[in-house]
Amino acid sequence: MSAFAALFRRELSLMWASGGLMTPLGYFVGAATLTPLAMGPDRALLATAGPPLVWIAAALAVMATLERLFQADLEDGSLDQMMLSEAPLEALVLAKGAAFWCVVGAPLALAGAPVSIALQAPIDRIPLIVAALGVGAAAFIGVGLVGAAVTAGVRRGGVLIALIVLPFFAPPVIFGAAIASGEDVEAAFLILLGCALGATAIGPFAAAAALRLQAE
């Protein structure tokens, strides 16, 4: 079994065992629930302003889970093992990101369906919103890998991660929200895909470079 697949499976079972699935999901649904409470339950208002707010909830949910991404590996020495492995660290970071997407990103995108319905998004737009959330989650995670890697050694780095990744979350949020509200859907989706590809291409390299420093 290749190192990539081994790490991918290890991460999946670790995140699964630690209830990794439920925490961001609960956070996502909770944050989205606050929206109609703050805006008032007026259906017409929610229909125009509500669906894009799914993206805020999704961005916050991913952000909140990033802190432990590399910290545990740094503390218990798994990171040193990864660096000793013959597989390039970049590939292993990508494996972690992929596992993170499976445990956090994909469920978040699926949960986006009922949440957007509750926020009065039109039913026929739901599949598109779910697909966009899945792609956007990949972009969030690609950026998040870098944020988590540069702050891995910092105690209670949660707020710091949020500050660092926040500006880079802006493009997926902008274009994802455009899709959710049904403006220029095709162009926005292509740009969102571009963000996800760019983040997945650059993220693992920058994150691996930072992790090498962290383990020194």
Binding site: V146, V150, T151, G153, V154, G157, L160, L163, I164, L166, P167, F168, A170, I174, G198, I202, A206, A209, A210, L213, Q214, E216
Partner: protein, 240 residues
């Protein structure tokens, strides 16, 4: 030549007189540029007197981008050659760049109120500039959060290089999402669209902002180097 000046001791002797010179040039240019921009240059035929905000807004915007680009170059040098002076330069430049970005945002908002009729518009240029400001803050926060200074330097350098992505987005935002902010009017195909009477004060102020940056950067870098020396001599004394 760069490696000649990259020696910290040589930098200290050079900057000891270069930083007051730059600050002096900045003072002179501000002394010339401010009255020129605020009183002597003509008012705009459409905007009237509010156009004078440009002479602060535009140079601050230019150099907040320029400083980030310079930090990016310093970060690259720091990662590739592990040069301590490059770390110090990038770290010392960040608060100045953040301040320039803040000046740009605040003056832009003040300018927008009378001319566009709004203090803030979520247009591509304004948003990407705000993003640059937040990237500056994140960069500074990362430097402060990591205890080990060498590690902080290189982690911050990685972050800085990733953030470089934002610079072309800011530059071209006015062409990609053309809403309220005007497109480029000086560096553009077909020459500048700004009247020559406004170029003089604009470039004087741009020069003033740059000299101010260069002078302050050297002051900051000298302070950082002095602080490092004090710390290392304290450690040496404790060990002795």
């Amino acid at each position: 030549m760069l490696s000649y000046f990259a020696n910290p001791a040589r930098f200290m002797t050079l900057s000891a007189w270069a930083s007051p010179i730059f600050l002096g040039i900045a003072f002179v240019l501000f002394a010339v540029g401010t009255p020129w921009a605020l009183w002597l240059s003509p008012a705009d035929y459409q905007q009237g007197e509010t156009v004078r905000i440009m002479y602060i807004h535009v140079p601050a915007a230019w150099w907040s981008l320029g400083i980030y680009a310079l930090m990016g170059a310093a970060s690259l040098v720091s990662l590739v050659w592990r040069h301590a002076l490059a770390d110090v330069a990038a770290r010392s430049a960040a608060p100045i760049g953040a301040t320039f970005a803040a000046i740009c945002l605040v003056t832009g908002s003040l300018w927008g109120a009378p001319t566009w009729g709004t203090w803030w518009e979520w247009d591509g240029r304004l948003t990407s500039m705000l993003v640059l400001f937040i990237i500056y803050l994140g960069y500074i926060a990362l430097w402060n959060a990591v205890d080990d200074e060498d590690r902080a330097a290189r982690l911050a350098a990685i972050l800085c290089l990733v953030g470089l992505i934002n610079l072309p987005i800011i530059k071209f935002s006015v062409d990609w999402w053309s809403t309220l902010h005007q497109p480029a009017s000086i560096l553009r195909m077909g020459g500048s669209a700004i009247d020559e009477s406004m170029m003089g004060p604009l470039f004087t102020m741009a020069g003033a902002f740059f000299s101010l940056f260069a002078g302050l950067l050297m002051v900051n870098m000298r302070a950082a180097i002095h602080r490092r020396r004090v710390e290392s001599s304290r450690i040496r004394q404790e060990q002795a």
